[in-house]
Amino acid sequence: MGNIIWIIPAAPLIGSILLGLFGARWSNRWSGFIGTLSIVISALLSVAIAVHWFQDPPVDEHMRIMLWRWISLPEYSSYIEFYLDPVSLIMMLVISVIGLLIHIFSTEYMAGEAGYSRFFAYLNLFVASMLLLVLANDLLVLFVGWEGVGVCSYLLVGFWFHKAANGYAARKSFVVTRIADVAMLVGILLLSNALGTVSIQPMLAKAALLWPHGGIMAAAGAALLLIGGLGKSAQFPFQTWLPDAMAGPTPVSALIHAATMVTAGMYLVIRLYPLFALVPSVLTVIAVGAVITILTASLTALVQRDIKRVLAYSTVAQIGYMFLALGVGAWSAAMFHFLTHAVFKALLFLSAGAIAMRLHHEQDIFRMGGLRQKLSVVFWAFLIGSASLAALPVVSAGAFSKEMILASLWESPGLGKWLWLAALFGAVLTATYIFRVVFLVFFGEVKTEPTGHYGVRIVVPLVLLAIAASTIGWLEMPKFMASSSVFSSFLEPVLGHPATESTLPHWVTAAGYIAPLLGVVIGFGLYRSGYWVRTAGPVGQGNDGGQAERSMGEGVRRFMRAGFGFDFLYDRLLVQPFLWLVKILRNDPIDAIFMSAAAAAMRFHGALRRSQIGQLRRYAGMLALGSMAVIVIMVFA
């Protein structure tokens, strides 16, 4: 079974190459077919491998499939090698299956767009890179996939490159993640230098053997890799690129900037968790950073007008939850939240895209309204997604994963209780902001009349994702409900046994279930009182229009709307000094030195040129003089 695993990333890669080479000449229908077919192959194989795995798990619960030797040096060699264990199997399944649904959705969503085949070429390339990332056995191959998804993200955010703002957003996402990637590369080199290998499993074994608990080398390596992960996952302090990345087409936002790529950072930490487990200080940093991320992102999401920006900030916040779980060592909880989040966030984004399709690409939630009857399919899909995001109890997948995280927070020592409280507050906020969107978009009077209709390729992915979003949580339930722990026991060989829930007081569990309901109630209450509409803020994103009343509350809201001023801060701290430097270097002061040499040469040339008078006799005399000198040198020297 394992020897065909290479087809899983290869199929989208081949699809991408074919589309890149011939897509411009193919019809849109054929491009979409090829682009989807390659993912179908990947998805079917992934499912087949997963089924096979369940029936007959391999020895030691992992498979290593070596393809070929990549780099061969005297004391070092790197192989293109795949490593499949329950963690990467789940990642692979999510990427290929959700990728498939989003591809199907895109074939209809992107119909009539210029660059249809280009879109599928990029999307296929992304899936190939992402699969390479999760299947990689060593950090070098992982890094290749890591950069590959970064490039695809750049290309797809800037897909409509005719608008300057999209190009800016693409560059921003690329540059911010690249800064983090440099740290990650340094971390990889550090680890390979210190441990002599980049192959993950031997490296982790060596690290655990050689480095003491909390050692400085382990801390440095873990911290550097963590920076890379934070950048890719848009966590504090790198969170600013993700909302701008919403400039890309909505399926891209669903696939790359919600379901898969942005969780690569979490995957990295889980993959290397023995290394992180060595350094509790780094874990604490992860947890605290995650709390900051959750709270700022949730508060920002609360005041956005643009539906995609709300979802973007909610993505940041939900990945924050995953990192929070990582920060307290609840690896399988993070994985579980990744799984549910991938499903419900893809669902939410696709629903948003489906709404925008029918409303002339309107994304402002205050111009929508009353869509409950008009777009009932999307309403139910979005409602299920929102319930799952808000973690409404029992009916949604998100409830179980979030509950698992909250439980592990409560049980963790040290800061655990405070983290639990912050996470609980975040859960209230999450429910509030997402149901604010639900109420504004689907209830009240109609503001923009929908046009057109949905094809089957829109509805089927939505329905499938909605079913998954409401049922997938049953894989893992708390003990007092059904005592189902399929998921964590599946991951147990890799990630160890999750913390038991025996010591959890009942009121803690109850609080976790009540918080989202409270959030929904707040959202509804403020909707009924018209508070959301009153505080809608100026049209456009984040910029202060100046016409709003100068009250304290509006000032705070404006600050929140602008994402807590991180963009402003980075602009002042990093971008402006850089531009200043560029302005200085524009006239190239170093070059002036070289130009002065050139000017001296020119002057010398002018002087020499004056000697060229075109008089034969003088030339002859000079020749004679030169011969004299040569004779002097030859004879007397």
Binding site: G621, A624, L625, S627, M628, I631, V632, V635, F636
Partner: protein, 173 residues
């Protein structure tokens, strides 16, 4: 110190060629200059003969006095000197113009004299190196340089042929 016949011939011919060369380079009329040049070449040929190189002496007469000077005469005729200003008059600062080459030439002579003095021995035995020895050296040992020389001549031939073709559109400019 007695003077042999060889010495007499050598010094006589050498002085003759120096005088005629001086005359050749100072004439204003090119034809007179060429006649003096022929005389000087005959003198040099005699010197070469005395030095024991009869083959080279005959070549000197044939090639220089024959071919080269005749070629010169052809060109002088083709230049149509009657309609060409050849006397440029004396310009100001002539003395300076003569002084510079004078100093240059004198210093070169002194330099070569210093370079030669006290080297290569004083006396030499007298050999006549006949055409056969030269031919053997030339056509057996130096066959490659001979071929290179022929290529040089070929290049000169082609160049002369090309340049001498008067193209109306460019030649009349």
């Amino acid at each position: 110190m007695t003077y042999s016949m060889f010495d007499v011939v050598f010094y006589g011919a050498g002085a003759f060629s120096v005088v005629t060369t001086t005359l050749a380079i100072t004439r204003t009329n090119p034809v007179y200059a060429l006649l003096n040049f022929v005389m000087s070449i005959l003198g040099i040929a005699l010197v070469i003969f005395v030095l024991g190189a009869p083959f080279a002496a005959s070549l000197e007469v044939i090639v220089y006095a024959g071919a080269v000077v005749v070629l010169f005469l052809f060109v002088v005729m083709m230049l149509n000197l009657a309609h060409l200003k050849t006397d440029f008059g004396v310009k100001r600062g002539r003395s300076v113009r003569l002084a510079v080459p004078g100093v240059l030439v004198i210093s070169i002579i002194i330099e070569i004299g210093i370079a030669f003095s006290g080297r290569f021995g004083k006396e030499t035995t007298y050999h006549i190196i006949g055409p056969s020895a030269v031919g053997r050296q030339l056509l057996v040992a130096d066959i490659i340089p001979i071929e290179l020389g022929s290529m040089l001549l070929l290049a000169a031939l082609l160049g002369a042929f090309h340049l001498a073709r008067l193209s109306p559109e460019r030649g009349r400019q």
